[in-house]
């Protein structure tokens, strides 16, 4: 793959595994085994079967008629929101739990921002009967309270991250500390295409089912498998990478990644990483991150807990730098309005993360015969409180 990872774990100058020695054996074990495990026939069969019977895949590719009329193009929604647990996060969680079992791990840890990845991880741990500990920023636990309860109901232990900004990056730090202390029996299910190699590649592969299905479905709908545009929101970037993956080598397909501008890119309250960040090292990989001139990680802000992350995955950093994908941003207000519009035009209440991708349609200039696929990465149930407060319903 032209835009894939090289043997040392790099995408151009991005990626690698910048980890303390305490984590090295864990990461090395994964690096040595992940490809052979996920390419085994038995693994593939079990993964595909669970995606079908348990997750409910393939997720529909829905021709969004009223959106197509409004924006003057053939717009399709890739409905990851219809997956079991309500988002694309389950694809990766299923893949990693099967991998963890083959590695003989007895305990799972995970970090979560909005709680979608935490719920997906708690779900697959319940399915497999494996102990599950989820780290979640204290601030996120408050703003995503229903997901905290869901995780607990699924049998997981939710541990509040109380350091730093008490959000996703701090939950990630705490999960890494746990992994350092439990190097032998524990697998860390990272929820996005971030972290030390091989995580960005491994998670991208598990999420690539999104674009694999899309190609086939699009061909059934339109007679050709390549759209003109593919759009997705980006926090760490897992749904976007899954949505882009099988289109990366098709240079005619324009890729649009939508970051969270929060209260505005220049407001001081933003998570628009490519606009505000510089190259550096975050959570084990060389990437683009929001930081002070001195290299301290900046606390990001977005109304969406799933996009409230100061970095992007290293493959995104690479696609950004070489201009293979376009990185844009959408504010809180624009996203919430788009969430309302989608609810009332299509009868789909999207996650606020997803609403960022939808909002950017306003800025696109389509030709009438353009085909556009947007990843509806998650459903909005978890965000009802935020929507309700904002619109006063």
């Amino acid at each position: 793959m032209k835009y894939g990872v090289n043997e040392q774990g790099y995408y151009g100058e991005f990626g690698g595994a910048y980890i303390p020695e305490m984590l090295y054996p864990n990461v090395e074990e994964l690096r040595n085994k992940y490809l052979s495990i996920i390419n085994e026939d038995g693994f593939k069969k079990e993964f595909d079967q669970l995606l079908k019977d348990y997750v409910g895949r393939p997720s529909p590719l829905y021709p969004a008629k009223r959106y197509s009329e409004k924006y003057g193009a053939n717009i399709f929604f890739k409905r990851e929101d219809l997956n079991h647990t309500g988002s694309h996060k389950i694809n990766n969680a299923i893949g990693q739990i099967l991998l963890a079992r083959r590695l003989g791990k007895k305990r799972i840890i995970a970090e979560t921002g909005a709680g979608q990845h935490g719920v997906a991880t708690a779900t697959v741990c319940a399915l497999m009967g494996i102990e599950c500990v989820v780290y979640m920023g204290e601030v996120d636990m408050e703003r995503q309270a229903p997901n905290v309860s869901r995780m607990k109901m699924l049998g997981a232990t939710v541990v509040p991250a109380r350091s730093g900004s008490k959000t996703l990056k701090d939950a990630t730090n705490e999960a890494l500390r746990d992994w350092i202390a439990n190097p032998v029996d524990t697998h860390y299910i990272i929820g996005s295409v971030v972290g030390p190699y091989p995580y960005p590649d491994m998670v991208a592969r598990f999420q690539s089912i999104i674009s694999l299905e899309t190609k086939k479905q699009l061909s059934e709908h339109t007679g050709r498998e390549l759209p003109d545009y593919v759009m997705a929101c980006v926090g760490g970037g897992s749904n976007a990478m899954g949505m882009f993956y099988h289109f990366l080598d098709d240079e005619s397909v324009k890729l649009v990644a939508v970051e969270a501008a929060g209260k505005g890119v220049d407001s001081g309250h933003s998570a628009a990483t490519t606009f505000l960040g510089r190259e550096g090292v975050l959570h084990g990989s060389r990437t683009i991150l929001m930081q002070t001139p001195d290299g301290q990680v900046v606390e990001p802000y977005s109304i969406s807990a799933g996009l409230d992350y100061p970095g992007i995955g290293p493959q995104h950093a690479y696609l950004y730098k070489i201009h293979r994908a376009e990185y844009v941003s959408i504010t809180d207000d624009e996203a919430l309005q788009a969430g309302l519009l989608c609810s009332q035009l299509e009868g789909i209440i999207p996650a606020i993360e997803t609403a960022h991708a939808l909002a950017y349609l306003e800025n696109m200039k389509f030709k009438t015969d353009d085909t556009v696929v947007i990843c509806i990465s998650g459903r909005g149930d978890k965000d009802l409180d935020t929507y309700i407060k904002y619109f006063g319903y």
């Binding site: 040392q8 690698g16 595994a17 910048y18 980890i19 303390p20 020695e21 305490m22 090295y24 054996p25 350091s163 730093g164 990056k169 701090d170 730090n173 890494l176 500390r177 350092i180 202390a181 190097p183 032998v184 510089r278 190259e279 550096g280 090292v281 975050l282 959570h283 084990g284 991150l289 930081q291 001139p293 001195d294 290299g295 301290q296 990680v297």
Partner: protein
């Protein structure tokens, strides 16, 4: 190559070396050099000065806290190097800098090594700069400036990797008592002794210094029986959070070394 202070210390044959870690800019922005001076006078053999980082994943609550306060106090690599300009007028024992890689990347790795050498720093410990990245991308800057890069080894590090680390090291190897974050307590179980023994039998060309979980005379002496010495970090950083910490430093060192 001309030996730096750190290499001289290890080549001197001196045993039971005590190294102390503390965070630059904690408890106050200007406390760094005074603490270093007092540590030398109290009998520490070499020092690790930590530069703070917002997301220290290998550190427990005590060091995280000191890092956070140091950042609030305004500590940065620029400020630290300014303070260290006077280092060699006041401190003669070897000094290492320790911290996470991103601030170094932003400062510029080459510039960092050059500046470190210029102010009289002898070595650097960057826990999240692993061996492959060091060797492939950055080793020459360290060598050109005669700054030693120190690698860590844990009970899970393979023998093959330890050999490789030994070949890339030119002062000492930092042996972690267990796979833990700083400030955790460890049990001196038979398992750990087997690990110490295993490393000892590898006949590495570099001496080993133990760190993480060294808190008192007992744990220090134990570590010294298997290697050249040990590093105390969190326990000392905790002391710096107390009132009249300067007056307590000689007693702290004495209780371990005496």
């Amino acid at each position: 190559m001309h030996e730096n202070r750190l290499q001289q210390l290890f080549n001197s044959g001196k045993q039971n070396l005590l190294s102390i870690f503390f965070t630059a800019g904690y408890p106050t922005l200007d406390s760094t050099l005074g603490i270093a001076e007092t540590l030398e006078r109290s009998g520490a053999d070499f020092l690790e000065i930590g530069f703070p980082y917002s997301d220290p994943v290998a550190d427990g609550p005590v060091n995280q806290h000191s890092s956070q306060i140091a950042l609030q106090n305004g500590m940065s690599l620029n400020v630290l190097f300014d303070q260290l300009a006077a280092l060699r007028q006041r401190v003669s024992i070897p000094v290492l800098l320790m911290g996470y890689f991103n601030p170094v990347v932003q400062y510029g790795v080459e510039r960092f090594c050059k500046k470190a050498a210029e102010v009289g720093v002898d070595g650097v410990i960057l826990p999240d700069l692993p061996m492959y990245e060091y060797e492939a991308l950055y080793a020459r800057y360290f060598k050109e400036n005669a700054v030693c890069n120190i690698f860590m080894v844990t009970p899970q590090t393979s023998a093959e990797r330890i050999q490789k680390i030994d070949s890339l090291s030119n002062s000492f190897i930092y042996l972690l008592s267990a796979s833990i974050i700083t400030g955790s307590s460890i049990q001196q179980s038979g398992k750990i002794e087997a690990y110490y023994q295993r490393v000892k039998q590898m006949n590495l060309k570099n001496p080993v210094i133990f760190g993480f979980g060294i808190i008192d005379k007992q744990t220090f002496s134990k570590a010294c029986s298997y290697g050249r010495g040990a590093i105390i970090g969190s326990r000392f950083v905790k002391l710096l959070g107390e009132k009249d910490y300067m007056d307590k430093i000689p007693g702290f060192i004495n209780a371990i070394k005496a």
